[in-house]
Assembly symmetry: C2
Homo-oligomer: 586 residues x 2
């Protein structure tokens, strides 16, 4: 390589000395007082090895990770134990910060600003990590193999087949958009799960405006073309509708003044309210704001059919009236379904009759010993207290007296709460039953501590506990926490084998190696457009308005995966603020 020029040297200095680069960004970007805290890693320790080495017999345990979404990436970022040989397989060679996808659909943020190459993420780690851009189409749990295909040549005759052996498999392939088999949805609707989806939607919006601006169209045709329908009143659908409304009113009306009166945005929701996983105050605020903004909110409307020109809905109540609306574009954001590869895998492991892949509380797929599943592709099948009530009673009844003293119960309570988190939740949230009352009041009072209950009384006291169980939502937050939890388990696998730190095994001997996964809800945002956001924070704290928008900016900026994406997203926001959003059809 030739001698470096001063400019090359300066550039290299910047890239190698990350703190210098960071300082420069902090000075350059100046994105409105945002405090973007650092979690960047140092740059050394490039350890990607030659794929041929993989074939070498080595004694390292082979961990295969499927998918580079929130769960898979979080696992990789938190894995520290260098004694694994890690192979990552995903059709996308990047991680995408999906909470900003609705912003990408209208160009508030650029697609490339929210992605980070997975190779960039893993090369900063002192680990053996190989990445292969391929899609897993079959998991063979019996022979511990995954079968993948890679079509990078873009030619059906040049598809590469890859078969990989594993010792541990981490399945984090995410989910697909759910069309509920409603006719015409797959063919005519846009989805909003992948980066490509957002890019297509952006192009389509501009196409609709250009098309409506063509001469010789009737007013009716113009209105049809500029009728944007959003199906699904969850956070994604609501945020997209809000972003679209901002794009239209802030930017597009200036460039297409002649068609601005023809624009209409309709939001369809099958239940009675939008954002129904949020506090009622947020729902009410959002519905009111949408009404003021002129977004046509149709609740209780279920989509029954979509053709290339019309969408048909049926009123859930009031006689089920069916109505047809012509549309220009539909964005479908109603929920998630299981990917085919997971469906096939579920049959193999005896879960063929379930809708979603089930794991135990340690994220291990039920029916397997070395396959973990996390993120949107699986749910945790929390064990019911009632199923184990006899085993619990026996474990707690240390003197085998067939009755349980409060003291005995108290000694086991920590393990019970850890193993069955619904018990803890029940203690916190609900009217305490007599037994629990007793437990609380009896502490230190030896007369009360000797009160005894038999199995039937114990069962009766805990009979309502399982009603506390809820599936975790399919959010980035859950997936990320699961990824980091599992990485932590892998990091301490050997140590915890010797020194188990989990709760008592009520149905077996000894203790579980690890504590079960526990989700810690950090709150959720619902951006509503017009620089207003609603947030539901832990402790049922609700915050709505402009200040929440700034909180949203700060949190999202700090959560972005790298300093690069952070700088890009913040500069995108700044650019939108100054120049507005671009409407070039690219």
């Amino acid at each position: 390589m030739q001698n470096m020029t001063p400019i090359q040297r300066l550039s290299r200095t910047f890239r190698q000395n990350s703190s210098l680069a960071k300082m420069l960004i902090v000075f350059t970007v100046g994105g409105g007082g945002l405090v973007a805290c650092s979690d960047a890693k140092s740059d050394d320790g490039i350890n990607i090895v030659n794929p041929s080495e993989v074939d070498d017999k080595n004694k390292k345990k082979r961990v295969v990770v499927l998918g580079t979404g929130w769960a898979g990436t979080s696992f990789l970022k938190n894995l520290k134990d260098p004694s694994y040989d890690v192979q990552v397989i995903s059709p996308r060679n990047f991680f995408a910060f999906t909470p900003l996808l609705p912003s990408v659909t209208v160009g508030t943020v650029e697609a490339r600003s929210i992605v980070e190459p997975i190779r960039n993420i893993v090369r900063k780690k002192n680990l053996n990590v190989h990445y292969w851009e391929a899609e897993c189409y079959r998991i063979d749990a019996k022979n511990k193999k995954v079968y993948c295909q890679s079509n990078l040549a873009g030619d059906p005759n040049q598809i590469e087949e890859i078969v990989v052996d594993y010792d541990y498999l981490v399945v984090s392939v995410g989910a697909r958009s759910n069309t509920f088999n409603i006719p015409g949805v797959a063919e005519n609707c846009h989805f909003l799960k992948e980066i490509e989806d957002a890019q297509k939607i952006r192009r389509k919006i501009v196409d609709c405006f250009e098309r409506a601006s063509l001469p010789n169209l009737s007013d009716e045709e113009r209105k049809k073309i500029l009728h944007f329908v959003v199906v699904g009143g969850g956070p994604t659908g609501v945020e997209f509708a809000a972003e679209l409304h901002d794009y239209v009113t802030e930017d597009l009306v200036k460039l297409y003044p002649m068609v601005k009166d023809a624009v209409k945005i309709t939001l369809l929701e099958a239940t009675d309210h939008i954002l129904n996983m949020f506090d009622k105050r947020i729902t009410a605020f959002a519905e009111e704001k949408f009404q003021r903004d002129g977004i046509d909110l149709k609740t209780g409307a279920m989509v029954v059919k979509v053709t290339d020109t019309e969408i048909s809905t049926k009123q859930v109540k009031n006689g089920g009236e069916i109505s047809n609306m012509p549309y220009g574009m539909i964005v479908w954001s109603t929920g998630i379904g299981t990917r085919p590869v997971i469906m096939e895998f579920m049959k193999q492991v005896g879960q063929g009759n379930r809708r979603v892949l089930a794991t135990d509380e340690w994220l291990r797929v039920e029916g397997t010993g070395d396959i973990y599943a996390l993120g949107d592709c699986a749910t945790i099948n929390q064990r019911k207290v009632m199923e184990d009530i006899w085993a619990i009673f026996q474990k707690a009844d240390k003197d085998n007296s067939k009755t349980l003293t409060v003291k005995e119960f108290q000694e086991t309570l920590k393990d019970i709460c850890e193993r069955y988190p619904q018990v803890e939740l029940y203690l916190k949230n609900k009217q305490l039953s007599s037994l629990i009352d007793l437990l609380k009041d009896s502490k230190g009072d030896s007369s009360k501590e000797s009160v005894e209950v038999n199995l039937e009384e114990f069962k009766a006291a805990l009979s309502q506990v399982d009603s506390q169980m809820k599936n975790l939502p399919a959010t980035a937050q859950v997936a990320a926490q699961q990824g980091s939890y599992l990485a932590d388990c892998f990091n301490r696998m050997e140590y915890c084998e010797e020194n188990p730190e989990g709760p008592l095994r009520f149905r077996g001997e000894g203790r579980h190696r690890f504590r079960p996964f526990r989700y810690k809800h950090l709150g959720q945002f619902a951006p509503l457009g017009g620089e207003q956001t609603a947030a539901q924070l832990p402790g049922d704290w609700v915050s709505i308005g402009h200040s929440t928008q700034w909180l949203w900016y700060s949190v999202y900026a700090s959560k972005l995966v790298s300093w690069r994406t952070r700088a890009l997203v913040i500069s995108d926001w700044g650019r939108r603020f100054i120049f507005g959003r671009d409407s070039s059809g690219i």
Copy 2:
């Protein structure tokens, strides 16, 4: 609309007060001392009218502009006379700053940073301008109509037909990539003319690296996949090869260290040297630099066939040996060809036997009265002196003596030079012939001024003049100057009808309305990678190296179409400098 919040108000203030925004950018971007001079226009005077008004009978002359490339956009930007009704038709609703396309292929600059919506450009003008996103497929010169199609619904059943009448037609549709009908080129090569081409190339480069990183490949296969072939040693091909080399050595080797030794870049050129329109010093420097960089430069190699796995070349000299090379990607950048719509149009106007659409020196299509063609889709057919020699002689021979005194010739010389620029060029560049010598020496010397020549002597004296004629290169610079020249003619159409300012009509009566178009060469850059650029500036001034790269940065930043694109491109450069280029496969 609801009351604006302080943030919305601030944002609006920024966007309406452009100088405030500009100041902020100058402070924010701080792109290394770049002086980006302003040519922004004020924001008021939004005059896009409802398309239905177009159908109204109004007395405004209808000008139809086809295409929104350099020529068309430059025409629109410089048109000032509000007495026209302008309709712009183009399949691309944006203007792209094409000189930065090679940078887009590797992500040094983002695609969206170099485009500006055409509606944004025209809405700032005090003109009636309508834009329609459609592609012209037929020009009917006889009935003064253009036929266009728009497929914005993306559905072959929903194509919109648009027929537009014109009084003046400005054809600036550009050219297509020329495959020279070499088999397999159209199917297997990437081109580099449009934004979409650059985006596809970027994706393909990353795909090649991912594919070569897959396990179970032989070294030979890896080398094939990572063999990048660039065909064409013109400025675009050379710049792309240089950008690709920088991308590989500066960014990709870090993420794909295991395949870096398999990468090879080959540049094929049919003539003996690359960059042969440049000074020899530049060619030599570029060839040497490429050799040092390890780019395999094959000159004198003509491509004869491309299959999906191999490219076949034939040596132009030395017996015409044919060799086959396996490849991973080919970028084809050899020259331009005529678009089908122009071919068909040429037949209509009696130019069916030509290769390229010909215009006169006023950019009017030969064989028509009201159709102008500019940019890459046409060439100026400069009238030969020898064709008009008798007419010139007659006009100059004011006393009809059948002989020309030097005094008479001198009086006509200005008109001759204006009408036949080759004469002026000849006077400047070549050894002066006896007549011209005489002309120069005779000034003010009445004895010499009365020297006479007859037609034969006059013809002999001017016989070599036409050898000076050259077609203008198909560059952005030529197209932009033609657009602004034509707009200037349109701006003064009425005035110049009354007060013609052009040269004498040698074959007719009176004077031409306008001076003919004259191209002013402002120099040309050839970026060579590694922060080095070569430039050939007017007066044969040659500059090569790092300082020229900074000149390139400055000139390109200042030439960008808007303050928005300027800020974006400069921040892209800054970002590349700090973070390197992104390699996500999106």
